[in-house]
């Protein structure tokens, strides 16, 4: 056989041996090296390492930040009110050996146990606070406290908790509907207030305008009457001056005018005796008196 063939065969053998006795650790992995079932080493940085085939075997775990997304749960607040909370936990493997011992590397199992820890902690924190504090004022505090307090129990599982975050903090459905009604009522009150205010101002404006109108008209009436009075006075004075020249003649003249004006219609009926000056010559050619 040629040397080349020998070399090729040797190469294949070497490759095979290498493949069986080395392993890589990816950036995303935590690797446990066992020796005959016992944990030997867990602190592998990413890179290439050696193992003894059949004696050592390795187990790979996800080193990244993982998410435990819990289902929404009902909790009781300090006011004995129900609140529905949906939360998630950001965790990763802290102590690889502990984690493996506690969960055998089963993420679901790890998740279930972690969920219980978190739930208990949440119950305690929420139970000490009012709804408003949980929603708003102390929300961040609740999250931080749950994280910090759960960290100790989680460490027993070899789990490092990075973050516990509340997603939903909501009222149960039946309470929501009463919240809606309250919101509607509040809005209705606001609406009524607006409209009432508007009407009030409108009335004020209207009343003021009408008052001004009355004043204007009253002033005008007064002024008009005064002017008319002036006219009347002036006329009276003129008349008096003229007619005063001869009161008797005025009386005569004016009476005649009055008679003419009073009886100017065929509808007026006069029943007369022929004894006035008009009829002086009526029955007597010389004129009777």
């Amino acid at each position: 056989m040629s040397r080349l063939k020998i070399a090729a065969v040797l190469l294949a053998v070497v490759v095979g041996v290498i493949a069986v006795s080395t392993f890589t650790v990816d950036e995303r992995e935590r690797v446990i090296k066992f020796q005959l079932g016992e944990i030997v080493r867990t602190d592998f940085e990413p890179g290439l390492y050696f193992k003894i085939p059949f004696v050592n075997n390795i187990r790979r775990l996800d080193a990244r930040v993982l998410t435990l997304d819990a289902t929404p749960e009902r909790y009781l607040t300090s006011e004995k009110k129900n609140v529905i909370v949906d939360s998630y936990v950001k965790w990763r493997i802290g102590d690889t050996a502990n984690y493996y011992r506690a969960t055998k590397g089963d993420e679901l199992r790890a998740g279930a146990r972690l969920a219980q820890i978190i739930k208990d902690e949440l119950k305690s924190q929420i139970g000490n606070r009012t709804i408003k504090e949980v929603i708003s004022g102390e929300r961040a505090e609740v999250m931080n406290l749950v994280r910090d307090n759960a960290a100790r129990a989680a460490a027993d599982l070899g789990i490092e908790i990075l973050d516990v975050r509340l997603k939903q903090v909501d009222l149960p459905a039946n309470v929501s509907s009463s919240v809606f009604r309250r919101m509607e009522k509040e809005r209705a009150t606001v609406a009524k207030e607006f409209r009432a205010r508007g009407e009030e101002q409108a009335k004020a404006i209207t009343a003021d305008a009408e008052r001004q109108r009355a004043e204007i008209l009253a002033d005008a009436y007064a002024e008009a009457q005064a002017i008319r009075g002036e006219g009347d006075a002036q006329a009276a004075e003129t008349y008096a001056r003229a007619f005063g020249q001869d009161k008797e003649f005025y009386s005569f003249y004016r009476s005649l005018e009055a008679y003419k004006r009073s009886f100017s219609n065929k509808g007026d009926v006069l029943v007369l005796e022929p004894d006035s000056d008009f009829f002086r010559y009526f029955g007597n050619v010389q004129g009777q008196r």
């Binding site: 063939k5 650790v25 950036e27 995303r28 990413p46 290439l48 990244r64 930040v65 998410t67 997304d69 929603i135 708003s136 929300r139 973050d163 975050r165 939903q168 903090v169 909501d170 809606f180 919101m183 809005r187 609406a191 607006f194 205010r197 508007g198 101002q201 409108a202 404006i205 209207t206 305008a209 109108r213 204007i216 008209l217 005008a220 002024e223 008009a224 009457q225 008319r228 002036e230 006219g231 002036q234 006329a235 003129t238 003229a242 020249q245 003649f249 005569f252 003249y253 005649l256 005018e257 008679y259 003419k260 009886f263 065929k266 509808g267 007026d268 009926v269 006069l270 029943v271 008009f278």
Partner: protein, 378 residues
């Protein structure tokens, strides 16, 4: 002992039996392969070795070439050597040491990814609002993105949901629905970036938009009514002002009219007085010149005018206790009828005689005659 020692029967050391026996004959196998390739590459036994060498060389070359890769524009290549991160490569052609020594994963860092969130949430004052949130982000550190967090995109979505609910939970409903939108979006952005940085997810938040913030559908009608009420308030005020702006000028106009009418009256009355006074004065002046004649003339003219223009009943009773029958109501109605039908009052008593109503003019004369006759009888 060596396998080709004399007397050793040329035993095949592997199979343990005589050469050419059962079992895989490796030497033959290789020879066959070499022959085959030798035939391809040309040449005999010696050539087969060379061909085999060429084969190895070819395999090695292919293996080496497999390390060539191209990073597209907008991407980065993350190079791992034996699982360990060594480099991030820029867009363009590169070469890495072939698998299993090195491998490369490419990550799109330029294109923006987006997350849309919609949901109802509680506000600080325990009201419920409906919120629409949009987040845009891209990958800022491809190595962190790949290595630190499993499912970084899902992580971002959950974090965004948590962040918006936290920020809205700290805001009042009015604030969230009206002027607070941009501030809420800014707070969410800060919070979200903090969280992503805390997880070292290698993600950069680009924009956060509070696209919509509404009261929940169930109560929207009430909210809209409140808005309408505010408009109503303004409308009431506007209507009142319009009314005021109408009646006051009109009143002023009215006032001016009244005053002007008064002034007209005054002028009229004074002028009439002056006219009449002048008339009287002039007449009086003439009267003074011939008083008796003037007086008589005036008197007769006046009475004549009166009598011609009215209906008359003449009664000439000289003493006695005679009882006159004077149907005044009939006379008056006849007189009115005559006035109506004749239109203008004329000097004479000759008027048209309608058949239905007896003419008062003729009757007048008859009356006078009748009455005078009756008087004579006495």
């Amino acid at each position: 002992m060596a396998w080709n020692e004399p007397g050793g029967n040329n035993r095949d050391p592997w199979s343990g039996g005589p050469r050419g026996g059962k079992g895989p004959d490796l030497d033959d196998l290789l020879k066959q392969m070499g022959d085959k390739f030798g035939r391809v590459f040309g040449g005999g036994g010696k050539g087969s070795s060379a061909g085999f060498g060429l084969l190895l060389a070819a395999v090695a070359a292919v293996w080496a070439l497999s390390g060539i890769y191209i990073v597209d524009e907008g991407e980065r290549g993350v190079v791992l050597r034996f699982g360990e991160y060594v480099d991030t490569t820029m867009p363009g052609p590169h070469w890495h040491m072939p698998y299993p020594i090195e491998k490369v994963e490419t990550v799109d860092v330029d294109s923006f990814r987006s997350v849309q969130l919609k949901g109802q949430m509680l506000t600080e004052d325990e009201n419920i609002v409906q919120v629409d949130l949009g987040v845009q982000y891209n990958i800022s550190d491809p190595a962190e993105y790949l290595f630190n967090v499993r499912d970084a995109d899902l992580t971002l979505r959950a974090a965004a949901e948590s962040a918006i609910r936290e920020v809205v939970g700290k805001s009042s409903m009015d604030f969230a629905l009206t002027q607070g939108r941009s501030e809420i979006a800014a707070r969410v952005r800060t919070l979200l970036q903090e969280m992503m940085d805390g997880y070292k997810a290698g993600i950069l938040i680009r924009t956060v938009n509070l696209q919509d913030a509404q009261p929940p559908e169930a109560v929207q009608a009430a909210f809209e009514d409140a808005i309408k009420a505010r408009e109503d308030e303004q409308r009431f005020i506007n209507e009142a002002e319009a009314y005021a702006n109408e009646i006051i000028p009109r009143a002023r106009g009215n006032a001016i009219q009244q005053v002007e009418e008064a002034r007209a009256y005054r002028a009229q009355v004074t002028k009439a007085a002056e006219g009449e006074a002048e008339r009287f004065s002039k007449l009086y002046a003439e009267y003074r010149k011939a008083p008796e004649v003037t007086r008589e003339r005036l008197y007769l003219d006046a009475v004549e005018s009166v009598l011609t223009n009215s209906s008359k009943v003449m009664m000439d009773v000289e003493g006695g206790n005679n009882i006159m029958y004077l149907p005044l109501d009939k006379i008056v109605s006849q007189a009115s009828g005559a006035a109506a039908t004749s239109g203008m009052t004329t000097g004479g008593d000759t008027t048209r005689r309608p058949q239905s109503t007896p003419s008062t003019a003729a009757n007048d004369n008859n009356r006078v005659r009748d009455l005078m006759r009756s008087r004579e009888v006495r």
